[in-house]
Amino acid sequence: MTEVKLEERLITCIASYLDDCPHIAVGVISPIPGSAAMLAAERQGGKVSIIGSDHPKYRCDGGVELFDQAGQGRINAFFLSGGQIDGQANINLHGVGDYPEMKVRWSGAFGSGYLYFLVPKVILFRLEHSRRVFPEKVDFISSPGVSEPGVHRPGGPHALVTNLCAFSFDKAKGRFRLDSLHKGTTLEEVQDNTGFAFDMPEHVPQTPEPTDADLTLIQSDIADAIAGPYPKFARQVFGKAA
Protein backbone atom coordinates (compact mmCIF):
# COMPACT_ATOMS: atom_id res chain seq x y z
CA MET A 1 0.00 0.00 0.00
CA THR A 2 1.38 3.42 -0.93
CA GLU A 3 1.60 6.15 1.67
CA VAL A 4 -1.59 8.05 2.46
CA LYS A 5 -1.46 11.56 1.02
CA LEU A 6 -2.35 14.55 3.20
CA GLU A 7 -5.17 15.36 0.79
CA GLU A 8 -6.64 11.88 1.22
CA ARG A 9 -6.44 12.16 4.98
CA LEU A 10 -8.17 15.55 4.88
CA ILE A 11 -10.86 14.24 2.56
CA THR A 12 -11.81 11.41 4.91
CA CYS A 13 -11.50 13.66 7.96
CA ILE A 14 -13.90 16.22 6.49
CA ALA A 15 -16.26 13.48 5.31
CA SER A 16 -16.48 12.26 8.91
CA TYR A 17 -18.24 15.54 9.77
CA LEU A 18 -20.81 15.09 7.03
CA ASP A 19 -23.04 12.37 8.44
CA ASP A 20 -26.73 12.64 7.62
CA CYS A 21 -26.25 15.30 4.96
CA PRO A 22 -28.30 14.32 1.91
CA HIS A 23 -27.38 17.56 0.13
CA ILE A 24 -23.93 19.06 0.38
CA ALA A 25 -22.95 22.23 -1.47
CA VAL A 26 -19.40 23.23 -2.35
CA GLY A 27 -17.75 26.38 -3.68
CA VAL A 28 -15.90 26.08 -6.92
CA ILE A 29 -12.36 26.51 -5.63
CA SER A 30 -12.60 23.88 -2.87
CA PRO A 31 -11.34 20.59 -4.29
CA ILE A 32 -10.58 18.91 -0.96
CA PRO A 33 -13.97 19.74 0.55
CA GLY A 34 -15.51 18.87 -2.82
CA SER A 35 -13.90 15.44 -2.70
CA ALA A 36 -15.02 15.02 0.90
CA ALA A 37 -18.57 15.89 -0.08
CA MET A 38 -18.44 13.30 -2.84
CA LEU A 39 -17.06 10.70 -0.45
CA ALA A 40 -19.77 11.40 2.12
CA ALA A 41 -22.43 11.29 -0.56
CA GLU A 42 -21.04 8.05 -1.94
CA ARG A 43 -21.15 6.45 1.51
CA GLN A 44 -24.62 7.66 2.42
CA GLY A 45 -26.17 8.37 -0.92
CA GLY A 46 -27.03 11.99 -1.49
CA LYS A 47 -26.46 14.93 -3.75
CA VAL A 48 -23.52 17.28 -4.17
CA SER A 49 -23.93 20.71 -5.75
CA ILE A 50 -20.89 22.72 -6.82
CA ILE A 51 -21.23 26.46 -7.30
CA GLY A 52 -20.16 27.43 -10.78
CA SER A 53 -19.73 23.86 -12.01
CA ASP A 54 -20.88 23.21 -15.54
CA HIS A 55 -20.90 19.45 -14.94
CA PRO A 56 -24.52 18.35 -15.45
CA LYS A 57 -24.51 16.29 -12.28
CA TYR A 58 -23.09 18.92 -9.96
CA ARG A 59 -24.17 22.19 -11.45
CA CYS A 60 -26.85 24.41 -9.99
CA ASP A 61 -29.82 25.77 -11.89
CA GLY A 62 -28.30 29.20 -12.46
CA GLY A 63 -26.49 31.28 -9.89
CA VAL A 64 -29.40 31.87 -7.56
CA GLU A 65 -30.75 28.37 -6.91
CA LEU A 66 -28.16 27.33 -4.36
CA PHE A 67 -28.80 30.37 -2.16
CA ASP A 68 -32.51 29.84 -2.44
CA GLN A 69 -32.04 26.21 -1.43
CA ALA A 70 -30.09 27.34 1.63
CA GLY A 71 -32.99 29.63 2.51
CA GLN A 72 -35.45 26.77 2.05
CA GLY A 73 -33.41 24.54 4.38
CA ARG A 74 -32.51 22.18 1.55
CA ILE A 75 -28.72 22.35 1.98
CA ASN A 76 -27.32 20.37 4.89
CA ALA A 77 -23.65 21.26 4.65
CA PHE A 78 -21.35 23.81 3.05
CA PHE A 79 -17.70 24.80 3.29
CA LEU A 80 -16.15 28.14 4.06
CA SER A 81 -12.65 29.38 4.66
CA GLY A 82 -11.12 32.63 5.74
CA GLY A 83 -7.99 34.71 5.50
CA GLN A 84 -8.47 34.77 9.26
CA ILE A 85 -10.68 32.59 11.47
CA ASP A 86 -10.84 33.34 15.18
CA GLY A 87 -11.80 31.39 18.29
CA GLN A 88 -15.45 32.35 18.04
CA ALA A 89 -15.50 31.11 14.44
CA ASN A 90 -15.75 34.63 13.07
CA ILE A 91 -14.39 34.56 9.54
CA ASN A 92 -12.56 37.32 7.72
CA LEU A 93 -12.53 37.24 3.94
CA HIS A 94 -11.93 40.97 3.49
CA GLY A 95 -8.40 41.74 4.66
CA VAL A 96 -5.98 42.93 7.31
CA GLY A 97 -6.01 46.40 8.84
CA ASP A 98 -8.67 49.07 8.92
CA TYR A 99 -11.57 48.78 6.51
CA PRO A 100 -12.00 49.86 3.76
CA GLU A 101 -8.42 50.86 2.80
CA MET A 102 -6.93 47.72 4.29
CA LYS A 103 -3.21 46.91 4.44
CA VAL A 104 -3.99 43.59 2.81
CA ARG A 105 -7.20 43.25 0.86
CA TRP A 106 -8.72 39.86 0.05
CA SER A 107 -11.51 38.96 -2.32
CA GLY A 108 -14.61 39.70 -0.24
CA ALA A 109 -17.42 37.76 1.42
CA PHE A 110 -18.75 35.78 -1.55
CA GLY A 111 -21.79 33.87 -0.24
CA SER A 112 -20.62 33.63 3.36
CA GLY A 113 -22.73 36.51 4.69
CA TYR A 114 -25.76 34.35 4.03
CA LEU A 115 -24.73 30.69 3.88
CA TYR A 116 -22.93 30.83 7.24
CA PHE A 117 -26.29 31.75 8.79
CA LEU A 118 -28.50 29.34 6.88
CA VAL A 119 -26.63 26.08 6.33
CA PRO A 120 -26.74 23.83 9.42
CA LYS A 121 -23.28 22.30 9.07
CA VAL A 122 -20.66 24.70 7.80
CA ILE A 123 -17.21 23.11 7.73
CA LEU A 124 -14.38 25.62 7.92
CA PHE A 125 -11.30 24.50 6.04
CA ARG A 126 -7.86 26.03 5.85
CA LEU A 127 -4.57 24.45 4.77
CA GLU A 128 -2.37 26.94 6.59
CA HIS A 129 -2.55 26.37 10.33
CA SER A 130 -0.77 29.41 11.78
CA ARG A 131 -1.29 32.20 14.30
CA ARG A 132 -1.61 34.59 11.37
CA VAL A 133 -4.60 32.66 10.05
CA PHE A 134 -6.08 31.76 13.46
CA PRO A 135 -5.79 34.92 15.58
CA GLU A 136 -7.64 35.55 18.80
CA LYS A 137 -9.85 38.07 17.00
CA VAL A 138 -10.27 38.65 13.27
CA ASP A 139 -9.53 42.14 11.88
CA PHE A 140 -12.89 42.23 10.10
CA ILE A 141 -15.96 40.09 10.70
CA SER A 142 -17.04 39.10 7.19
CA SER A 143 -19.47 36.75 8.87
CA PRO A 144 -19.84 36.06 12.58
CA GLY A 145 -19.44 32.60 14.10
CA VAL A 146 -22.24 33.04 16.61
CA SER A 147 -25.28 35.31 16.73
CA GLU A 148 -27.27 37.05 19.42
CA PRO A 149 -30.36 35.21 20.62
CA GLY A 150 -33.30 36.18 18.39
CA VAL A 151 -31.26 36.35 15.19
CA HIS A 152 -32.66 33.85 12.70
CA ARG A 153 -29.78 31.43 12.41
CA PRO A 154 -30.52 27.81 11.65
CA GLY A 155 -26.96 27.41 10.41
CA GLY A 156 -23.42 28.04 11.48
CA PRO A 157 -19.98 26.56 12.07
CA HIS A 158 -19.82 22.82 12.66
CA ALA A 159 -16.11 22.00 12.39
CA LEU A 160 -12.74 23.42 11.45
CA VAL A 161 -10.32 21.18 9.58
CA THR A 162 -6.73 22.29 8.97
CA ASN A 163 -3.53 20.72 7.74
CA LEU A 164 -2.72 19.86 11.36
CA CYS A 165 -5.95 18.85 13.09
CA ALA A 166 -9.72 18.94 13.31
CA PHE A 167 -11.91 20.91 15.70
CA SER A 168 -15.65 20.78 16.23
CA PHE A 169 -17.48 23.95 17.20
CA ASP A 170 -19.67 24.22 20.27
CA LYS A 171 -22.35 26.75 19.34
CA ALA A 172 -23.62 27.15 22.89
CA LYS A 173 -20.16 27.98 24.23
CA GLY A 174 -19.02 29.74 21.07
CA ARG A 175 -15.71 27.85 21.24
CA PHE A 176 -13.81 25.28 19.24
CA ARG A 177 -12.95 21.89 20.72
CA LEU A 178 -9.97 19.96 19.38
CA ASP A 179 -11.29 16.62 18.13
CA SER A 180 -8.23 14.96 16.64
CA LEU A 181 -4.66 15.48 15.48
CA HIS A 182 -3.70 14.40 11.99
CA LYS A 183 -0.97 11.75 11.79
CA GLY A 184 2.40 13.32 12.56
CA THR A 185 1.00 16.37 14.35
CA THR A 186 1.60 17.02 18.04
CA LEU A 187 -0.67 18.87 20.42
CA GLU A 188 2.14 21.37 21.05
CA GLU A 189 2.37 22.10 17.35
CA VAL A 190 -1.35 22.92 17.28
CA GLN A 191 -1.13 25.04 20.42
CA ASP A 192 1.92 26.94 19.14
CA ASN A 193 0.22 27.73 15.86
CA THR A 194 -3.24 28.67 17.12
CA GLY A 195 -3.86 32.21 18.28
CA PHE A 196 -7.11 31.45 20.07
CA ALA A 197 -7.97 29.34 23.11
CA PHE A 198 -9.91 26.12 22.49
CA ASP A 199 -11.27 23.20 24.47
CA MET A 200 -10.00 19.66 24.21
CA PRO A 201 -10.57 16.22 25.67
CA GLU A 202 -8.13 14.81 28.17
CA HIS A 203 -6.62 12.63 25.49
CA VAL A 204 -6.71 13.97 21.94
CA PRO A 205 -6.97 11.07 19.50
CA GLN A 206 -5.32 10.81 16.14
CA THR A 207 -7.52 11.59 13.15
CA PRO A 208 -8.59 8.21 11.79
CA GLU A 209 -6.58 7.25 8.73
CA PRO A 210 -8.59 6.61 5.57
CA THR A 211 -9.72 3.00 5.30
CA ASP A 212 -8.69 0.95 2.28
CA ALA A 213 -12.26 1.20 1.03
CA ASP A 214 -12.13 5.00 1.31
CA LEU A 215 -8.80 5.17 -0.48
CA THR A 216 -10.07 2.98 -3.29
CA LEU A 217 -13.12 5.21 -3.71
CA ILE A 218 -11.08 8.40 -3.56
CA GLN A 219 -8.52 7.18 -6.07
CA SER A 220 -11.05 5.84 -8.56
CA ASP A 221 -14.59 7.22 -8.64
CA ILE A 222 -13.89 10.45 -6.80
CA ALA A 223 -10.69 11.22 -8.65
CA ASP A 224 -12.63 10.73 -11.89
CA ALA A 225 -15.52 12.87 -10.72
CA ILE A 226 -13.31 15.62 -9.31
CA ALA A 227 -11.44 15.94 -12.59
CA GLY A 228 -14.51 17.65 -14.06
CA PRO A 229 -14.98 20.55 -11.67
CA TYR A 230 -11.39 20.61 -10.35
CA PRO A 231 -9.09 19.62 -13.22
CA LYS A 232 -5.99 21.25 -11.76
CA PHE A 233 -6.38 19.49 -8.42
CA ALA A 234 -7.13 16.11 -10.00
CA ARG A 235 -4.07 16.51 -12.20
CA GLN A 236 -1.77 17.50 -9.36
CA VAL A 237 -2.97 15.14 -6.63
CA PHE A 238 -4.26 12.11 -8.49
CA GLY A 239 -2.51 12.52 -11.83
CA LYS A 240 -5.94 12.45 -13.52
CA ALA A 241 -6.75 14.19 -16.78
CA ALA A 242 -10.10 15.97 -17.06
Partner: protein
Amino acid sequence: MLILDPTPIEAHFLRMTQYLNSADDLAALIPDGAQVAIAKPPLSPTAIAGAMIRRGIKDIHLITSPTQAYVADLLIGGGCIGLVETSGVSLGEIGPAPRFVAAVKSGALSIKDSTCPAVYAALQAGEKGQPFAPLRGLIGSEVLANRPDYKVIENPFEPGDDIVLLPAIRPDFAIIHAAKADRFGNVWVGGRHELKSLAHAAKQTLITVEEIVDEDLRLDEACAPNLISGLYVRAVAEAKQGAWPDAAPGHYPFDEDAVIAYGAQARTEEGFDTWLNDHILPAVAAE
Protein backbone atom coordinates in the same frame (compact mmCIF):
# COMPACT_ATOMS: atom_id res chain seq x y z
CA MET B 1 -21.33 7.01 -11.77
CA LEU B 2 -21.28 8.63 -8.39
CA ILE B 3 -24.02 9.68 -6.04
CA LEU B 4 -26.42 11.01 -8.58
CA ASP B 5 -27.43 7.68 -10.00
CA PRO B 6 -28.85 6.17 -6.84
CA THR B 7 -30.35 2.71 -6.79
CA PRO B 8 -34.04 2.73 -5.86
CA ILE B 9 -33.15 1.61 -2.35
CA GLU B 10 -30.65 4.42 -1.89
CA ALA B 11 -33.16 6.88 -3.29
CA HIS B 12 -35.75 5.78 -0.79
CA PHE B 13 -33.25 5.92 2.05
CA LEU B 14 -32.37 9.44 1.06
CA ARG B 15 -35.90 10.65 0.78
CA MET B 16 -35.11 11.28 -2.86
CA THR B 17 -37.73 11.00 -5.55
CA GLN B 18 -39.97 7.95 -5.36
CA TYR B 19 -41.53 6.48 -8.49
CA LEU B 20 -45.10 5.43 -7.81
CA ASN B 21 -47.65 3.66 -9.95
CA SER B 22 -50.46 6.15 -10.21
CA ALA B 23 -51.90 9.50 -9.31
CA ASP B 24 -53.79 7.66 -6.56
CA ASP B 25 -50.49 6.62 -4.98
CA LEU B 26 -49.43 10.28 -5.03
CA ALA B 27 -52.71 11.49 -3.53
CA ALA B 28 -52.28 8.94 -0.74
CA LEU B 29 -49.31 10.99 0.50
CA ILE B 30 -51.43 14.10 1.19
CA PRO B 31 -53.02 14.25 4.64
CA ASP B 32 -56.30 16.02 5.40
CA GLY B 33 -55.80 19.67 6.24
CA ALA B 34 -52.63 20.07 4.18
CA GLN B 35 -51.78 23.24 2.29
CA VAL B 36 -51.74 22.28 -1.39
CA ALA B 37 -50.70 24.55 -4.26
CA ILE B 38 -51.63 24.10 -7.91
CA ALA B 39 -50.83 26.22 -10.95
CA LYS B 40 -53.19 27.58 -13.54
CA PRO B 41 -53.79 25.77 -16.85
CA PRO B 42 -52.36 24.46 -19.09
CA LEU B 43 -50.89 21.39 -17.37
CA SER B 44 -53.32 21.46 -14.47
CA PRO B 45 -52.83 18.43 -12.19
CA THR B 46 -56.22 16.90 -13.02
CA ALA B 47 -55.20 13.30 -12.45
CA ILE B 48 -54.00 13.96 -8.91
CA ALA B 49 -57.06 16.09 -8.18
CA GLY B 50 -59.30 13.22 -9.25
CA ALA B 51 -57.34 10.88 -6.99
CA MET B 52 -57.74 13.31 -4.09
CA ILE B 53 -61.50 13.24 -4.61
CA ARG B 54 -61.54 9.46 -4.82
CA ARG B 55 -59.61 9.28 -1.58
CA GLY B 56 -62.00 11.72 0.12
CA ILE B 57 -59.32 14.12 1.30
CA LYS B 58 -60.80 16.92 3.44
CA ASP B 59 -60.06 20.46 4.61
CA ILE B 60 -57.33 21.18 2.15
CA HIS B 61 -56.05 24.77 2.08
CA LEU B 62 -55.83 25.20 -1.68
CA ILE B 63 -53.50 27.82 -3.12
CA THR B 64 -53.86 28.60 -6.82
CA SER B 65 -50.75 29.95 -8.54
CA PRO B 66 -52.14 32.42 -9.28
CA THR B 67 -55.59 31.46 -10.67
CA GLN B 68 -57.38 28.29 -11.60
CA ALA B 69 -60.27 26.89 -13.58
CA TYR B 70 -61.63 23.35 -13.92
CA VAL B 71 -59.37 21.57 -11.43
CA ALA B 72 -60.00 23.97 -8.56
CA ASP B 73 -63.72 23.80 -9.24
CA LEU B 74 -63.57 20.01 -9.27
CA LEU B 75 -61.71 19.83 -5.96
CA ILE B 76 -64.15 22.29 -4.40
CA GLY B 77 -67.19 20.42 -5.71
CA GLY B 78 -65.58 17.16 -4.64
CA GLY B 79 -65.54 18.35 -1.05
CA CYS B 80 -61.77 18.38 -0.61
CA ILE B 81 -61.26 22.10 0.02
CA GLY B 82 -61.87 24.07 3.21
CA LEU B 83 -60.13 27.28 2.19
CA VAL B 84 -59.05 28.61 -1.18
CA GLU B 85 -56.38 31.27 -1.58
CA THR B 86 -56.63 32.59 -5.12
CA SER B 87 -56.49 35.50 -7.52
CA GLY B 88 -59.41 34.14 -9.47
CA VAL B 89 -61.32 30.98 -10.28
CA SER B 90 -63.35 30.82 -13.47
CA LEU B 91 -63.69 28.69 -16.57
CA GLY B 92 -62.33 31.58 -18.66
CA GLU B 93 -64.23 32.31 -21.86
CA ILE B 94 -66.61 29.48 -20.97
CA GLY B 95 -68.02 31.19 -17.91
CA PRO B 96 -68.03 31.07 -14.11
CA ALA B 97 -66.65 28.13 -12.14
CA PRO B 98 -69.94 26.79 -10.80
CA ARG B 99 -68.90 24.84 -7.69
CA PHE B 100 -66.51 27.60 -6.62
CA VAL B 101 -69.25 30.21 -6.97
CA ALA B 102 -71.79 28.08 -5.10
CA ALA B 103 -69.39 27.21 -2.29
CA VAL B 104 -68.27 30.81 -1.74
CA LYS B 105 -71.85 32.09 -1.74
CA SER B 106 -73.02 29.45 0.72
CA GLY B 107 -70.07 30.03 3.01
CA ALA B 108 -69.09 26.36 2.74
CA LEU B 109 -65.74 27.52 1.34
CA SER B 110 -63.57 30.12 3.04
CA ILE B 111 -61.71 32.39 0.67
CA LYS B 112 -58.58 34.48 0.75
CA ASP B 113 -58.76 36.68 -2.33
CA SER B 114 -55.52 38.01 -3.78
CA THR B 115 -54.09 39.34 -7.04
CA CYS B 116 -51.83 37.36 -9.41
CA PRO B 117 -48.48 39.05 -8.80
CA ALA B 118 -49.05 38.86 -5.04
CA VAL B 119 -49.41 35.09 -5.17
CA TYR B 120 -46.33 34.85 -7.38
CA ALA B 121 -44.31 37.17 -5.14
CA ALA B 122 -45.33 35.32 -1.97
CA LEU B 123 -44.35 32.00 -3.54
CA GLN B 124 -41.06 33.50 -4.70
CA ALA B 125 -40.43 34.67 -1.14
CA GLY B 126 -41.10 31.08 -0.08
CA GLU B 127 -38.70 29.89 -2.75
CA LYS B 128 -36.01 32.19 -1.36
CA GLY B 129 -36.75 31.17 2.21
CA GLN B 130 -37.44 34.79 3.11
CA PRO B 131 -40.33 35.60 5.45
CA PHE B 132 -42.10 38.14 3.25
CA ALA B 133 -42.08 40.07 -0.02
CA PRO B 134 -42.98 43.70 -0.71
CA LEU B 135 -45.49 44.46 -3.44
CA ARG B 136 -46.68 47.69 -5.01
CA GLY B 137 -50.40 48.10 -5.71
CA LEU B 138 -53.29 46.80 -3.61
CA ILE B 139 -53.52 49.87 -1.35
CA GLY B 140 -57.08 51.16 -1.25
CA SER B 141 -58.58 47.90 -2.49
CA GLU B 142 -61.01 45.76 -0.53
CA VAL B 143 -58.85 42.79 -1.45
CA LEU B 144 -56.22 44.23 0.88
CA ALA B 145 -58.85 45.22 3.47
CA ASN B 146 -59.88 41.55 3.66
CA ARG B 147 -56.35 40.19 4.00
CA PRO B 148 -55.32 40.93 7.58
CA ASP B 149 -52.31 38.68 6.93
CA TYR B 150 -51.02 41.28 4.44
CA LYS B 151 -49.29 44.15 6.27
CA VAL B 152 -48.81 47.72 5.13
CA ILE B 153 -45.57 49.35 6.27
CA GLU B 154 -43.87 52.60 5.51
CA ASN B 155 -41.10 51.91 2.99
CA PRO B 156 -37.97 52.28 5.15
CA PHE B 157 -36.15 53.73 2.16
CA GLU B 158 -38.66 56.50 1.44
CA PRO B 159 -40.56 58.31 4.18
CA GLY B 160 -44.30 58.60 3.61
CA ASP B 161 -44.35 55.81 1.02
CA ASP B 162 -46.58 52.96 2.17
CA ILE B 163 -46.16 49.49 0.70
CA VAL B 164 -47.76 46.09 1.21
CA LEU B 165 -45.76 43.18 2.64
CA LEU B 166 -46.99 39.70 1.78
CA PRO B 167 -46.14 36.77 4.04
CA ALA B 168 -44.20 34.08 2.16
CA ILE B 169 -46.11 31.02 1.01
CA ARG B 170 -44.49 27.64 1.62
CA PRO B 171 -47.16 25.09 0.75
CA ASP B 172 -46.98 21.64 2.30
CA PHE B 173 -47.41 20.22 -1.19
CA ALA B 174 -47.14 21.45 -4.75
CA ILE B 175 -49.00 19.18 -7.15
CA ILE B 176 -47.99 19.52 -10.77
CA HIS B 177 -48.59 17.81 -14.08
CA ALA B 178 -45.78 18.02 -16.64
CA ALA B 179 -44.84 16.60 -20.00
CA LYS B 180 -41.96 14.41 -18.93
CA ALA B 181 -39.71 13.26 -16.13
CA ASP B 182 -36.54 11.23 -16.17
CA ARG B 183 -35.65 8.44 -13.71
CA PHE B 184 -33.61 10.76 -11.49
CA GLY B 185 -36.50 12.88 -10.28
CA ASN B 186 -35.98 15.66 -12.82
CA VAL B 187 -39.13 17.04 -14.39
CA TRP B 188 -39.14 19.19 -17.50
CA VAL B 189 -41.38 22.29 -17.37
CA GLY B 190 -40.24 24.22 -20.47
CA GLY B 191 -41.02 27.92 -20.20
CA ARG B 192 -43.35 27.53 -17.22
CA HIS B 193 -40.74 29.01 -14.89
CA GLU B 194 -43.35 29.60 -12.20
CA LEU B 195 -43.75 25.82 -11.84
CA LYS B 196 -40.16 25.70 -10.67
CA SER B 197 -40.79 28.44 -8.13
CA LEU B 198 -43.87 26.55 -6.95
CA ALA B 199 -41.89 23.35 -6.43
CA HIS B 200 -39.03 25.24 -4.77
CA ALA B 201 -41.40 27.01 -2.39
CA ALA B 202 -43.31 23.86 -1.47
CA LYS B 203 -42.07 21.52 1.23
CA GLN B 204 -42.80 18.53 -1.01
CA THR B 205 -43.78 18.25 -4.64
CA LEU B 206 -45.84 15.47 -6.19
CA ILE B 207 -45.80 15.22 -9.96
CA THR B 208 -47.63 13.34 -12.67
CA VAL B 209 -46.19 13.27 -16.16
CA GLU B 210 -47.33 12.22 -19.57
CA GLU B 211 -44.15 10.21 -19.95
CA ILE B 212 -41.17 8.96 -17.96
CA VAL B 213 -38.11 8.91 -20.20
CA ASP B 214 -34.96 6.83 -19.80
CA GLU B 215 -32.36 9.47 -20.54
CA ASP B 216 -31.02 11.76 -17.81
CA LEU B 217 -32.64 15.11 -18.63
CA ARG B 218 -29.75 16.97 -16.99
CA LEU B 219 -27.55 15.72 -19.82
CA ASP B 220 -29.86 17.12 -22.51
CA GLU B 221 -28.73 20.71 -23.00
CA ALA B 222 -32.13 21.72 -24.41
CA CYS B 223 -33.96 20.46 -21.30
CA ALA B 224 -31.38 21.01 -18.57
CA PRO B 225 -32.14 24.70 -17.86
CA ASN B 226 -35.85 24.04 -17.44
CA LEU B 227 -36.09 21.22 -14.95
CA ILE B 228 -37.57 20.91 -11.54
CA SER B 229 -34.64 19.08 -9.95
CA GLY B 230 -35.26 15.78 -8.21
CA LEU B 231 -34.16 17.44 -5.00
CA TYR B 232 -37.59 19.04 -4.75
CA VAL B 233 -39.67 16.13 -5.98
CA ARG B 234 -40.91 13.65 -3.43
CA ALA B 235 -42.70 11.39 -5.88
CA VAL B 236 -43.54 11.01 -9.56
CA ALA B 237 -46.11 8.86 -11.33
CA GLU B 238 -46.96 8.53 -14.98
CA ALA B 239 -50.48 9.67 -15.81
CA LYS B 240 -51.26 9.89 -19.48
CA GLN B 241 -53.89 12.55 -20.22
CA GLY B 242 -53.15 13.68 -16.68
CA ALA B 243 -54.12 17.31 -17.38
CA TRP B 244 -57.32 16.56 -19.33
CA PRO B 245 -59.50 18.50 -20.08
CA ASP B 246 -56.82 21.19 -19.73
CA ALA B 247 -54.09 21.15 -22.34
CA ALA B 248 -50.69 19.48 -22.14
CA PRO B 249 -48.83 21.40 -24.87
CA GLY B 250 -47.11 19.02 -27.23
CA HIS B 251 -49.45 16.20 -26.19
CA TYR B 252 -53.06 17.38 -26.46
CA PRO B 253 -54.98 20.64 -26.72
CA PHE B 254 -57.56 22.09 -24.37
CA ASP B 255 -60.78 20.07 -24.60
CA GLU B 256 -63.12 23.01 -24.83
CA ASP B 257 -66.21 20.88 -25.39
CA ALA B 258 -65.56 18.92 -22.22
CA VAL B 259 -65.23 22.05 -20.11
CA ILE B 260 -68.33 23.57 -21.70
CA ALA B 261 -70.18 20.38 -20.78
CA TYR B 262 -68.74 20.51 -17.26
CA GLY B 263 -69.67 24.17 -16.85
CA ALA B 264 -73.27 23.43 -17.75
CA GLN B 265 -73.58 20.22 -15.79
CA ALA B 266 -71.88 21.42 -12.60
CA ARG B 267 -74.37 24.24 -12.15
CA THR B 268 -76.28 21.86 -9.91
CA GLU B 269 -74.89 19.57 -7.27
CA GLU B 270 -76.62 16.63 -8.93
CA GLY B 271 -75.10 17.46 -12.28
CA PHE B 272 -71.70 17.71 -10.63
CA ASP B 273 -72.16 14.31 -9.00
CA THR B 274 -73.01 12.85 -12.37
CA TRP B 275 -69.80 14.38 -13.73
CA LEU B 276 -67.84 12.77 -10.89
CA ASN B 277 -69.47 9.42 -11.55
CA ASP B 278 -68.77 9.66 -15.25
CA HIS B 279 -65.25 11.06 -15.22
CA ILE B 280 -63.55 10.88 -11.84
CA LEU B 281 -64.72 7.97 -9.74
CA PRO B 282 -64.31 5.22 -12.39
CA ALA B 283 -60.53 5.52 -12.30
CA VAL B 284 -60.53 3.48 -9.11
CA ALA B 285 -62.41 0.63 -10.75
CA ALA B 286 -59.98 0.78 -13.68
CA GLU B 287 -56.99 -0.07 -11.49
